[in-house]
Symmetry: C2
Subunit: 196 residues, 2 copies
DNA sequence: ATAGAAAACGGACCATAGTCCGTTTAGTAT
DNA sequence: ATACTAAACGGACTATGGTCCGTTTTCTAT
């Protein structure tokens, strides 16, 4: 339990643990029933039988809550590109890994789109989402290997090209198929990193 | 006056005109003095000596107000890439026009960043900002000329790569110089559209 | 078991975008 | 000039994210 408490952190008080549990359960229920967009912090506090202050002390903000809710699937995706089999994981050429990364990201976003949009909204500095930082770093490394002159900035461009809001809206609002997005991503990376 | 009223629209009433004038002046003053981010609709209504309902009937939303405030500079930039001299305007190769477009956009965003961020926030579907649609279309045409397989989707990727929030945060929060952004954009377009 | 300190609690409170609707006002037809 | 109508007005009201701070609870040292 308490996966991300810094070592030697003071014991979490039992009431705090109980409320965290209540809050997570309530939040998952609400998201399952009404969708992430419709979740309000008041409703959550109420459903979890907890004061509103407690909700905010626990998660900091609505975005923080959404990130917490995401963390399981996110970790899984991260494990995929960091330790999984090629071409997503290590062992393939940077170009192929980037193609796979983008594709994976597109489908990941389409599965967790509401949560991701909700996590990214409201929070100024979408980039400060830890998962985003990790993705950025991953792309940066691959781009450097592939000989891009300024991999940090290029990774940022690609990060925004894979913005959850963009992907979700392309598919759900503008009617672009995920396949078409993935194909275009492949074209982008292929042309960017040396021909064919 | 009244630049964008559909032909044959019923006369704008004199009180409406007067209030629009008041609101625009007040808004410009507030932005000049405190910045776009700090502008609240209440403060605007108050300063313009107008009811809050009037503000919203006029502009629809905070984002709508920001777009109105932007429209002059935006039109100028648009004129640049649609009718201006090459390489930004017609007459140069698509690749060069795209490079120039991105550079122009970067500097445009840095000048009008607050307004753009404010216009893009709050409004779900940042893409529905008319100016964004036009930019997207412009890039789409150039990408098609340059032989990109799916210019519509690729233009969307590039649109997000030039996201105002991204550019402003890169420069002001993450300390990337505009030059470095522009160079990376050039690298991106150059590699994307056939070598050197 | 008890006292004291640190942490957690909860809900009233604030700020702000956006809505609603009864009232006022500007044009128009007579 | 008058009456009429449609448009515009304004501000009280709602929804919601987020803050504050006096009160309660848990843990620990004795």
């Amino acid at each position: 339990m308490r996966p991300d408490v810094p070592l030697g952190a003071p014991h979490e008080r039992s009431d705090a643990a109980r409320n965290r549990e209540r809050l997570l359960n309530a939040a998952r229920d609400l998201v399952a029933e009404f969708g992430a967009e419709a979740l309000t912090m008041d409703a959550l506090a109420c459903k979890a039988k907890v004061g509103k202050g407690t909700v905010f002390r626990r998660f900091g903000s609505r975005a923080g809550l959404m990130m917490t809710l995401l963390s399981d699937s996110e970790s899984e995706f991260q494990a995929g590109f960091m330790f999984g089999p090629p071409p997503l994981g290590p062992g393939a050429a940077p170009k192929d890994r980037l193609v796979a990364f983008g594709e994976g990201r597109i489908y990941f976003v389409l599965e967790n789109g509401e949560l991701l949009k909700a996590a990214g909204a409201a929070t100024r500095n979408r980039f400060d989402v830890p998962a985003t930082k990790l993705s950025h770093r991953h792309m940066e490394v691959l781009l450097r290997e592939a000989g891009i002159a300024d991999p940090w900035v290029m990774a940022m461009s690609l990060t925004y090209a894979l913005d959850p809001e963009r992907i979700v809206d392309d598919v759900r609002v503008r009617g672009i198929s995920p396949t078409r997005l993935a194909d275009s991503w492949r074209e982008l990376i292929t042309r960017l990193l040396g021909s064919v």
